[in-house]
Symmetry: C2
Subunit: 365 residues, 2 copies
């Protein structure tokens, strides 16, 4: 069994002659290293049978050689462009149908392939290819826990520093500094630090012109990336004090979050988890504040399979990791989200996130 | 003149009925804000005439509304998928040919468009669309200088901390902490910290198992991202001492770098700059250590137009910003690169990077 067995099987399953991988999470899992992608195409072709082949920018060749690549490599230099490398690939490895990662491959690579292979059928097999990442290895789980610990330590430090009068952007800067002080190698994604009405936007940007006020919600959604694995955590706290309405909304969201932990176990579906969590929100007086599904798989990509969403009848298996992040969002008022990263175990689930979820008031001097 | 004039003209120039923008540098320049993209398609269609239209994930609607968007928006929810939003777009805005950003748009959006518009011609107009970003606004230049100052301050702090025995990964962590302490909002790209033979790889990864030794080269290639603008700086220093050969190679690379500054002015071409710098390297005893072109445009993307490369006869104009980063890379030995970010002015150029370039030895206690 070579390291391409699963990919070859996937190609066959989707009726393709080969799978194409470009730098990104699947590539990183396979080769345990990453490449800067940018404007230079780098593609690995893994046929159903036979050796793989690759198109590689010449300036990456030293790094690429370190992969112990098993097949023919067509390298190209900036001065010459990449068309002839793709043409040489097409001559050496004829293909009728090619399965690609539609969420990762960009259109210029698609066009380069179509030019080199006139008549090539390009199939978006993102789901099938990325499915190979759904069950995490013990090593991946250990690394993810590292990323989560770094994130939680950073949040703990920042909550000590928050005061009314600080802008969202100032708090975000404190968070970022704390993340990298605690071992983050990169942000998993641009962090969200949003107060008051801004916290009602699921993907808000920190404002430089809004200062925290007493009674504001303050939502943190962020994560450290460590050795290619991403944490993704949300906590919503209160500045100075929490209004009665906000407390009530918080309790509903927390109940939905806890429900998610309660029902997650092998054999249950992604639909079941979303359905159970969302039902808690729907039964509350704030059912029209629902904006999002319950969660998403988490690992080398911040959003990956399984999507924790009604209608997704994927069955949960031990080793899957996903977020449970119910939220309620009152347009123009405030939003609350509580997000944990959970690992499906043999008998249930284990929360990799351990940061406290009790309603917390910060900024009281 | 509306904010879409230049894009409409670009669509017409490439023979398309419209330009499609997805979240990325062109989108950010136009709307002065960014969106998390990930697995949810968000596309703006700007026709040659008539109002724009967009497909937007429902959970982004509050943020999208803040753009003051002028046309019809087709939003979609995770539960329903995006196919019907694209179908509604196609009904409302018929298109025969569409110009896209080939380096930014991913294949799944391409496929969604092809499904909604059977027979649609999709043209990769990355170059033409991104050309609208080539000349920077005074605001963009000011922000870029902020990002560069943060990067330089971080490097200064790290060079004080470097000692033999530290691993590349430890030095990278020090650099990252210093970057975010000094105002970086994100890494412009995964930083490169590479010593000894690893510095001979243009895009090396920091090793956890290699400790700095006396006599090593130590190459830093990194940058802060601030408000959407990216710094990109390389300096190569020596640990403990520099060998005679390394000193000689350093002087050649520095001479090539200075040559780039010397000849950069309006009216000169990108080809001319690369040619002049590369000629300096070629005239040295290390001409077979050349691996890369001289540089690339820099701004909202880390690599953008103009590519500073032989054969690119683009004429330099005031307001363009690009890197001058000649290097020499001895496989298995060491590599040296010195990279500045320069702004083309009315009469010549101004180096936005001001970090010293004299040969520097660090780690001497």
């Amino acid at each position: 069994m070579d390291r391409y067995s699963a990919l070859r099987r996937t190609a066959r399953d989707v009726g393709a002659d080969a799978v194409a991988l470009v730098p990104g999470p699947n590539f990183e899992r396979l080769y345990n290293t990453s490449f800067h992608s940018l404007e230079r195409p780098l593609v690995v072709i893994v046929p159903v049978e036979n050796a793989p082949a690759a198109v590689v920018p010449n300036l990456e060749m030293r790094s690429f050689d370190a992969l112990g690549f098993e097949g023919k490599v067509f390298d190209w230099r900036d001065q010459d462009g990449y068309a002839s490398a793709f043409a040489a690939l097409a001559k050496q490895t004829p293909l009728g149908t090619l399965a690609v990662e539609g969420q990762v491959m960009r259109v210029f690579v698609h066009h380069a392939l179509k030019t080199a292979y006139p008549g090539l059928q390009i199939v978006d097999a993102e789901r099938e290819i990325s499915a190979l990442r759904r069950v995490k290895s013990p090593q991946e789980i250990a690394t993810l826990e590292c990323a989560i610990r770094a994130s939680e330590q950073a949040l703990a430090e920042v909550l000590e520093q928050v005061r009314t009068g600080q802008t969202e952007a100032e708090v975000e800067s404190l968070l970022t500094q704390a993340l990298f002080r605690n071992g983050a190698q990169e942000h998993a994604f641009g962090p969200i630090v949003a107060a008051g009405d801004n916290s009602a936007k699921p993907h808000a940007h920190a404002r430089t012109d809004y200062a925290l006020r007493d009674g504001d919600t303050l939502l943190f959604d962020f994560g450290a990336r460590v050795d290619g694995l991403n944490a993704d955590i949300t906590r919503t706290v209160f500045v100075g004090h929490a209004t009665d309405e906000a407390r009530s909304v918080y309790e509903v969201v927390l109940a939905a979050n806890l429900k998610g932990h309660e029902i997650t176990r092998p054999g249950v579906t992604a639909h079941d988890v979303d359905d159970a969590c969302t039902a808690v929100l729907e039964a509350s007086p704030w059912s029209d504040w629902i904006r999002t599904k319950t969660g998403h798989g988490l690992g080398r990509a911040v959003h990956e399979a399984p999507q924790i969403m009604r209608g997704n009848h994927e069955i949960l298996e031990p080793g899957m990791v996903f977020t449970i992040e119910p939220g309620l969002y009152g347009d123009g008022a405030f939003g609350i989200r509580i997000e944990d990263d959970v690992l499906v175990t043999e008998t249930g689930c284990r929360s990799l996130t351990t940061f406290p979820k009790e309603l917390t008031v910060v900024g009281q001097c």
